[in-house]
Amino acid sequence: MRPENYQAVKLGDSNEYEIFIGPNHPGIEGNYAFRLMLDGDIVVSGKADAGYLHRGFEKLMEGRLWIQNLAIVPRICVPDPAPMEVAYSMAVEEIMGIEAPIRAQWIRTMQLELSRVAAHLFTFGGHAATTGMYTPMFWGVADRDLVLDLFEDFTGGRVYSIYNIPGGVRRELPPEFLQKLSNLLDYLESRQNDYDNLLFTNQVFVERAKGCGALTQSQALELSVTGPNLRACGLAYDVRRDDPYLVYDELEFDIPRQKHGDAYSRILVRRDELFQSIRILRQIIERLPSIKGKIRTPIPNPLSWNVRKGEAYARVESSKGELAYYVVSDGGDKPYRVHVRGPSSMHAVQTLEFLAKGARLEDVAQIMFSLDACPPEVDR
């Protein structure tokens, strides 16, 4: 088309105008777009525009074998893939009526917590960058890389590990792994002061983040907010404690929470959670060597593996919120239906639209990053 033929859409007589943020924009998280109606720099209304990452996951999974699906489930949420594998495996185990051996359950717990540490470190950087601070981004990503090195060590993959299968985990831990993990935890704890000075008590950040995108508890519940975003409103709800799975009922940890429900509370909850995860990991390091046994309950030949008829709903607490898999089997070699209940679709669509209303244009990016939604999981 020749440029002369391109006509801008004109709105009626008003001061309002429309702008797009995304899909290719530094202030947006991933491939996602947000359409804003503005009056001056105050947002009149916002509309989420998802679907850029849609791959038809739930349909794809109906066409693949039970074991093949393990390769695609982690791809639903890229920054925090481990809970996806675990939740899917747990759902399939429940249908089959088997249980992973106790050692495998401990290893899975360790994997989940490590993944949470990596995801939170990543979020700090992203959130800080939306307020114009780029150093936390460099620190967070570099420290996250150390965690990814450990992942590579014990699963073979940096980001996508595909380490779980229904019935357990695939490999034993490499020798000296727990020592390495313990060293890493020491290092992360030693960084606490640096991070506090740089980010969490830094006035440049605090002034911008306080009061930005505040949610009350009842609003949060109405909008189906879960995870750290809900705990930032003062409600200590955590699947790990309220509906324990794996070995969380044997572990000691607190549920951090904050009162105000704004962007600052949300990042503080994540900061505290990071250190709670370190506390959990320390207990795992202590207990794991004394837990002996198999790491996998045998399953039939996976290429001709019919899971018996039934359905299951398995949920875990991912770093973004409550994550659940609803799996239905009709007795065939492929799932009949898989549904993913992801936290991000609630956070990035309805909550973001709700919070953007009345916010200032420069805060929209911060609100989005403070909710820590992950677009691939919105679209699936």
Binding site: M1, R2, P3, E4, N5, Y6, Q7, P23, N24, H25, P26, G30, N31, G51, Y52, L53, H54, R55, G56, K59, L60, G63, A71, I72, R75, V78, P79, F122, G125, M137, F138, V141, A142, R144, D145, L148, R158, V159, Y160, P376, D379
Partner: protein, 231 residues
């Protein structure tokens, strides 16, 4: 009446022309601005590659936020059809010379999602791709190696067959447009006038035109005088 723009390419008579060309290619390869369109999961390996651990700035490559100032378009993973439209708009807005890097197996042949109804499978059917970095997902080292390969290609592009893939878009516009129309419908239009640009660069060939570019003209709204549009 439309008046055809006639631009004559200057004859190159300077005996030192190739020295200048070499020098320009050298400079180009040392300073590249990269627009990364985070189309898929591969984008998660870019922050490590950009920040202190792997640090792609030492190769002279920096992220850039707008397509008009960028040299490299990095496609990081599967492209769904909705995204592909935006990718093409972005690509056409970029100024030549421009380079495309496809990260991840999904851009090569569909990868994991070969049977998905929502993704476009091969990126090079829709735009010329300079370098592919395969892997699911490629590690930061692989990303760095791919960028290095692109730099070498640009620098050693004497015969114009490796670092000049962007010219192909003008030379065979009909082919690329045909594939785009097959996906988006035959009234697919972009705001950039590729044919006029091809003429401007002196890159039009027989394959620039064809039955698909005819469709483009057919669905185009007729040109109106400027004054009538302003109201």
């Amino acid at each position: 009446m439309k008046k055809e723009l006639k631009i004559k390419q200057k004859e190159r008579t300077n005996p030192l022309a190739h020295v200048f060309d070499d020098f320009i290619r050298f400079c180009q390869s040392k300073s590249l601005f990269m627009l990364h369109y985070c189309t898929g999961c591969g984008a998660i390996e870019l922050p490590p590659a950009m920040t202190s651990r792997f640090d792609m700035e030492r190769l002279g490559i920096q992220p850039m936020v707008t397509p008009r100032q960028a040299d490299i378009l990095l496609i990081t993973g599967y492209v769904s059809i909705k995204t592909l439209k935006r990718v093409i708009l972005t690509y056409e807005q970029m100024q030549s010379p421009k380079y495309v890097i496809g990260i991840c197996s999904c851009t090569v042949n569909g990868g994991m999602y070969w049977q998905s109804y929502a993704t476009a499978k091969k990126l090079n059917e829709y735009m010329p791709v300079d370098v592919y970095i395969a892997g699911c997902m490629p590690r930061p080292e692989a990303v760095m190696a791919g960028l290095q390969r692109l730099k070498d290609n640009i620098r050693n592009d004497k015969k114009e067959h490796k670092g000049s893939a962007w010219k192909d878009y003008f030379k065979r516009y009909d082919y690329y447009l045909g594939n785009q129309q097959a996906l988006f419908g035959e009234d697919w239009q972009t705001p950039t006038d590729i044919i006029a640009e091809a003429k401007l660069y002196g890159l039009e060939t027989e394959e620039t035109y064809g039955k698909h570019t005819k469709l483009l003209e057919k669905h185009q709204t007729p040109l109106l005088p400027q004054e009538m549009r302003i109201k």
